[in-house]
Symmetry: C2
Subunit: 155 residues, 2 copies
């Protein structure tokens, strides 16, 4: 279980906080094609990749899949919506190579955070940092679209 | 100063936490055209709008401005990068109508958060929720671009 310190969410936790975290972890196998979570559904769990690979996807018009990211590194995580109100998955994730994931139930995570605000602070700080990074990347993408558009009307 | 409870960042703080927060607030006037913060620079302060209006913008190719949002409601905030490592503004903000802002220095905010992890937890949780909402909006925009692209190659 030395996997947990590899996840950005848990950077800065103390040994005793890691101990409590490990007590709520369950390891589960996953098979290629299996969905770990579905966009729009209740975010019942957080997933940490042990091995294998997981695609994060969103659906356009209920028909086309738009890829967001592929998780391949041990410690990569999916389902952070399980940490944040309104606790609904904003993406789907599908196993793209057989492997194993660590699963933490949303209700157990919430207990840990409520019991120990220092634990909660560290996780929320790491999560906010990560979301801000992703937001900057998304804005960068918008800038690229804008540049392409600008070139097209001036060419 | 009943403005602070109107800001999403401070939702859930106790009366004594609001009291400590108010002790680090300075009110400042702003004039149309004045920049409160500049993209890429050290995030030295968080700003809460009292009255007037503030544009959030990002620059493309160091020459074109891309508008991100306009803050008009008392309690709207700018400069949340002052709460999150690496403490650099990811956007610029410019006053677009004369008014007043509440200013909180980054170093003082960090002190409050470090001294009271319950305070830090509440602010980071609210911030993570807000960033996730903005990220969903940004993804929605990408979906719109994707749909437009898909239509154009199939028309």
């Amino acid at each position: 279980m030395q996997l947990l310190p590899a996840c950005y969410l848990f950077k800065g936790l103390s040994e005793s906080q890691f101990l409590r975290l490990r007590s709520i972890v369950k390891e589960k196998p996953m098979r290629k094609g299996q969905f770990l979570m579905n966009e729009g559904q209740a975010a019942g769990a957080l997933f940490i990749l042990k091995n294998g690979a997981v695609e994060l996807i969103t659906t356009v018009n209920d028909s086309f899949e738009l890829p967001i990211a592929i998780l391949r590194n041990p410690g990569d995580c999916a389902g952070t919506s399980a940490l944040v109100s309104p606790y609904k998955y904003s993406l789907s994730s599908r196993c793209s190579a057989n492997g194993k994931v660590l699963v933490m139930e949303q209700a157990r995570l919430k207990e840990l955070i409520t019991e120990d605000h220092s634990f909660g602070f560290i996780i929320m700080r790491n999560l906010a940092e990560h979301f801000l990074e992703m937001l900057k990347e998304a804005r960068q993408e918008t800038k690229t679209h804008f540049k392409t558009f600008f070139k097209s009307i001036h060419s």
